[in-house]
Amino acid sequence: MTTTTPTTTPTTGTPTGTVETTYREALREGLRDALRGDDRVFLMGEDVGSYGGCFGVSLGLLEEFGPERVRDTPLSESAFVGAGIGAAVAGMRPVVEVMTVNFSLLALDQIMNNAATLLHMSGGQFAVPLVIRMTTGGGRQLAAQHSHSLEGWYAHIPGLKVVAPATLEDARGMLAAALADPDPVLLFEHGSLYNTKGTLPAEPAPVDIAHAAVRRSGTDVTVLAYGGMLPRALAAADDLASAGISAEVVDLRVLRPLDEAAVLASVRRTHRAVVVDEGWRSGSLAAEVAARIAEQAFYDLDAPVARVCTAEVPLPYAHQLEDAALPSAETIAAAARSCFGGGHG
């Protein structure tokens, strides 16, 4: 095969130096850049090659880079994630794709007991410069073994960095930042975002994996979200604006380590906080964010911290049940409005 087939890169140039693209294509361009830019980078996982990736992210990369560097694996999550760790220790820069976060539990031993611990346990001798990509999140009627949001579990683990691109810029740029990191980074792609359309600069600027980002400025309440919940938080902010409430929307972007300074700075400006998390409420990342706000910005608050999380149920198939389980723009807006009532102000 020849390189770069136009059918697999349907981005089109415009006179203004931007390209129309999707979240999926932006991720693919990030992978393509990484594979072109560094011989040590290779992609490995189930169906990343001939199939083009379970969600089509790596379509065309096998043809461009060949089977050594775009490597289909058996359905052996533990072995190929562990092999990624070993290859990283031995000088490569592997990008391992696991189909979904639910399946990543089959590799949890390798992620938790090896990737996250080797550097520390070896007294600093063996770093693991590995990136693991996987899909997370619900909203696609895929029921209880494909839809969960377990990234908060990984954000519990010292030694890992956990990132969640919610925008096209981050889908395009976070992989490069993750590969530049000397330690393991888990990158969570939200399944409901793959078809998100938009434009990017033809030569996008690099992004970091250290900071949260204010996606919409506001003065009355801070809505904290990430990944697939960001569009819903922004929609809620639109709704709130029409009711005269100015919501600031902060995209956490990096779930571990949390950009605590950015969270606290926003809350100190608005004095109200709503934490949105597609994970379940009990023991959630939302609980961690809310606790940090309570610990460090308690006296800046005009209302108790509110949380909007997924109902504590394995996600069901039926659309109305799944929709009812997940946070929505409506439930996020309602939680924000609740920060202005009830005699707390």
Binding site: F42, P74, F80, A83, G86, V89, G123, F126, G159, K161
Partner: protein, 334 residues
């Protein structure tokens, strides 16, 4: 060293010299661990302590077939592997003491010995958990054009874990240069092989993945070495992964906490009659290349080395508590 003055007739005989070196390595491992057991009983080292006593021929024979820059991944019963790979007694003992001079700066302890200089990628305490890492190192070597073999050690208990089977398949599928060494000591902690596996011929099972496999007398260091050399030569020649079932036995309990209720004392005594150190010494004696004086010299040399290691470990500083959070993330770009 004094052992090398053993015999006037063999002083210039490299084969005899090599076999005496194998003996010294096994003696070093045995005495190191006996010292650890004493220190443990005296409360000077803590944590879990899994001794390799009886199995020394396995690590010693396999390491002898590897080059210094070839990686070893192993289990929590790894003092013997570390010493045979070239980790010296001093940092290893310091690790037992949890000191900053330990090979893992006191963060790993007995179960997690790491040493970059000797390409020793640890002590993994999850049964079978290290095997995928070895497959990955072998993959990296192949992708980067390095002609190296990675060796991985695990016990018979690993055969009940999915990670072993996934790794056997992956290594065979990609024909990776990895030597899989199964130390079959007949017990997964306290569960006998026959109670855990319907098919107890482990080499046969490994061969079902398309991995060339055979069983070896793990109490005979020369047999282990010969098998490992043969396997390593084949792997270097591009034949893909090889599997050795090394039939051995641990003379002591699983760990210092184990009352060893599950083994027949007569069985233990029968295996002790096949002590790998005594067996090699007897062969060297019979060949006229050891002798009582040389054996004593080896023992004295090892004892002095261990005495120095214990003294150094005892005197070494502890890592300051202010360094607790170091090495969670890299301190400089990899």
């Amino acid at each position: 060293m004094s052992a090398r003055r053993a015999s006037r007739t063999s002083r210039t005989d490299p084969a005899a010299e090599h076999r005496r070196d194998l003996l010294r390595t096994m003696v070093l491992i045995r005495r190191f661990e006996e010292t650890c057991a004493e220190l443990y009983s005296a409360g000077r080292i803590r944590g879990f302590l899994h001794l390799y006593v009886g199995e020394e021929a396995v690590a010693t024979g396999v390491m002898s077939a590897l080059e210094p820059d070839e990686t070893v991944v192993t289990t929590y019963r790894e003092h013997g592997h570390a010493l045979a790979k070239g980790v010296t007694a001093e940092p290893l003992m310091a690790e037992m003491f949890g000191k900053v001079t330990g090979c893992s700066r006191g963060r790993g302890g007995s179960m997690h010995v790491f040493d970059r200089d000797t390409h020793f990628l640890g002590g993994n305490a999850v049964v079978a958990g290290g095997i995928p890492l070895a497959v990955g190192v072998a993959l990296a070597d192949r992708m980067q054009g390095r002609d190296r073999v990675t060796a991985c050690f695990f016990g018979d208990g690993a055969f009940a874990e999915g990670e072993l089977h996934e790794s056997l398949n992956l290594a065979a599928l990609w024909r990776l240069p990895v030597l899989l060494c199964c130390e079959n000591n007949l017990y997964a902690m306290g569960t006998a092989l026959v109670k855990e596996h319907a098919q107890t011929d482990l080499a046969l099972r490994a061969s079902s993945y398309g991995v060339r496999s055979w069983a070896v007398d793990g109490m005979d260091v020369l047999a282990v070495e010969e098998a490992a050399r043969r396997a390593v030569d084949e792997i270097r020649g591009g034949a893909g992964p090889h599997f050795l079932e090394l039939r051995t036995y641990r003379f002591r309990a699983h760990s210092m906490y184990d009352a060893d209720r599950y083994r027949d004392k007569a069985e233990i005594e029968r295996w002790k009659e096949r002590d790998p150190i005594d067996a090699l010494a007897a062969r060297l004696d019979a060949d006229g290349v050891l002798g009582e004086a040389a054996r004593s010299a080896i023992e004295a040399d090892v004892a002095a080395e261990l005495e120095r290691a214990v003294a150094a470990a005892a005197e070494a500083p502890e890592e300051p508590v202010s360094d607790l959070l170091r090495f969670v993330h890299s301190e400089e770009p990899a």
